[in-house]
């Protein structure tokens, strides 16, 4: 008997959301797998390499699935999920704000093919970058990371954080000013930022 290959197209976003709201576990897994890589990138860029990364991602997706019945399609699903992820990051930072916790580098992919010394320096540069960001206000830290590291526009930062564009701009500006001040006296951080921007 000949094997018949049937092309299966991915379900449309609205259908997938509706199935998730009905409690269809297969649909929930499909949505998770579609969105996970993007949400991971976003959260990683906001938080840096941290052993709390998994916890934040879990909280984000649990909140997504519990909140889907209230998703009315007024924003793109991706934007709506990004807001939840940013909220989870905000809660994470808020809970840990008073703790002197350094950024832990648990995993990294910095120039994996490069020289060992370069990789070590890049890892240290990354650690210092997030250490500087950790000294900022949570709002400024998130706004700056969304803009400068995740590559969002000011309008997108404002939309995700539900703030005015001018507020987003000011937060980014304040964070950049502080980072510039720290870079001036830190050659490793300066090299890391310059190297990253050149790639």
């Amino acid at each position: 008997m000949a094997l018949r290959i049937v092309e299966r197209s991915a379900p449309a976003e609205a259908d997938l959301v509706a199935a998730c709201v009905r409690g269809d576990r297969a649909a929930e897994r499909e949505l998770f797998r579609r969105e996970y890589p993007r949400v991971l990138r976003l959260v990683y860029r906001l938080v840096g390499s941290s052993r709390d990364l998994d916890d934040i991602l879990q909280e984000t997706f649990i909140a997504v699935f519990r909140g889907l019945p209230r998703f009315r399609g007024e924003a793109r699903l991706a934007t709506w999920i990004d807001r939840i992820a940013v909220r989870a990051v905000f809660d994470h930072f808020s809970a840990r704000r008073r703790l002197p916790v350094p950024v832990e580098v648990v995993m990294d992919r910095i120039d994996a093919a490069g020289d060992l010394g370069d990789r070590a320096q890049a890892r240290e540069g990354l650690r210092r970058l997030y250490a500087v960001l950790a000294t900022l206000s949570i709002d400024a830290r998130i706004a700056f990371a969304l803009y400068a590291i995740d590559g969002r526009s000011v309008a997108e930062v404002a939309s995700i954080m539900r703030i005015a564009r001018v507020t987003a701009k000011l937060r980014i500006w304040r964070a950049r000013r502080e980072l510039e001040r720290r870079i001036a006296g830190d050659a490793i951080l300066r090299d890391y930022v310059a190297r990253g921007s050149a790639r």
Partner: protein, 374 residues
């Protein structure tokens, strides 16, 4: 410094299965707790208020500090048993009651009570709650903070008890009942304990009245418009006079420029004209908040397809605050509004001016395109 920094995220495959397993285990735990709570209720129609209890049962998954307690067993109706939501300092919690979404802020203790069918009450012991309430069709939702009661039928508002009680309304209207009387508080207004009637951003149609400073108000900076007088702050007298149960407006609490600016920001999403008036009121003063308000007004006008108004605001900013923090953005908005008005030669000159002043600025690429000869 460069505008963008490259940080590579780890590959999704390395953690996806692990996180996926944890997410669905957490969801199963939460849903199981919800089903158990639903099965134990006598009256199915009032079950949704038990969501905080279900969330607490899955505290590992949601990582929020939510404590739930029951009334003594002598109370036979479980629907009347209260739930307590407590957040730690620096923490926060979101929960839902029917269609209402409640955000409890840092260091907050709020008790949720279901009284008569469909009626929900919150007792705020301390901290802040932000309530987004869909129209409730006659099912009242009340927040009690000490002897102050806030009642709502469909709106967004927040109540703070720190320890003075303060009510901020984003949309709709709430009724605030106190031992001293009742007050209606509308969108963009604030009511605060201590003899203050609602304060609002100035409306030209409403006469301003003399003002006093409320006990919890933060003193405005010496260079702020508030220190120079209260012309920018007025009471919504008309909205009070049509309800005989509501007391006439009393002397007002003066809001700081920051409060007024933030109220204007909140108006942007649903009433741009009111937001523009509010920004204009703040911009009438001096200092950083006035500059920010003028910038925001220019941006609001530009995004509302009002380039002439935007250009006027921009030019005023450049004249009054030539060293303001938003000068770079303002100069770029000027380029955009000149283009929107069809004044391409002026836009080219403005773009060239921007490039001279900010050769490594945020808008260098588009400015270079505009400044290029036709």
């Amino acid at each position: 410094m460069t505008d963008r920094i490259v940080v590579d995220a780890p590959p999704a495959e390395a953690s996806r299965d692990r996180v996926e397993a944890a997410v669905f285990a957490g969801l199963d735990a939460i849903r199981g707790a919800e089903r158990a709570a639903a099965l134990s209720a006598d009256r199915p129609l009032v079950r949704p208020w038990m969501y905080p209890a279900a969330a607490a049962a899955a505290a590992v998954a949601v990582a929020l500090v939510i404590a739930v307690r029951r009334e003594p067993a002598s109370r036979s109706d479980p629907a009347r048993a209260p739930s307590l939501v407590v957040t730690p300092v620096g923490g926060s919690s979101r929960f839902t009651i029917d269609d209402a979404v409640i955000d409890a802020g840092s260091d907050t203790e709020v008790e949720v009570r279901a009284a008569d069918p469909g009626e929900v009450s919150f007792v705020l012991a301390r901290g802040t709650i932000d309530c987004d309430v869909a129209p409730r069709k006659g099912r009242p939702l009340r927040v009690r903070a000490g002897d102050v009661v806030v009642e709502v039928v469909g709106t967004r508002f927040s109540v703070a008890r720190t320890p003075a009680v303060r009510v901020d309304v984003t949309h709709g209207q709430v009724r605030v009942r106190t031992p001293g009387g009742e007050f209606l508080v509308g969108a963009g207004e604030r009511w605060s304990e201590g003899g203050a009637a609602p304060a609002a951003i100035a409306d030209p149609s409403v006469p301003s009245v003399p003002s006093v400073r409320g006990p919890e108000e933060v003193a405005a900076p010496p260079d702020s418009p508030d220190s120079a007088g209260s012309a920018a702050i007025a009471a919504p007298v008309a909205s009070h006079s049509d309800d005989s149960a509501v007391q006439p407006a009393r002397p007002l609490a003066v809001r700081s420029s920051r409060d007024a600016f933030e109220a204007a920001q909140r108006l942007e999403s649903h009433d741009r004209r009111a937001a523009a008036r509010a920004y204009r009121a703040v911009a009438g003063g001096d200092g950083a908040w006035a500059a920010l308000a003028l910038y925001s007004l220019a941006e609001l006008d530009a995004s509302s397809a009002l380039p002439r108004d935007a250009l006027a605001a921009v030019d005023e900013y450049l004249r009054r605050f030539p060293r303001g923090a938003g000068i770079e953005d303002v100069m770029w908005i000027r380029v955009e509004t000149l283009r929107a008005l069809g004044r391409h030669g002026d836009a080219r000159s403005a773009a060239a001016g921007y490039l001279r002043q900010f050769p490594r600025g945020t808008y260098v690429k588009p400015a270079t395109r505009v400044a290029a000869p036709p």
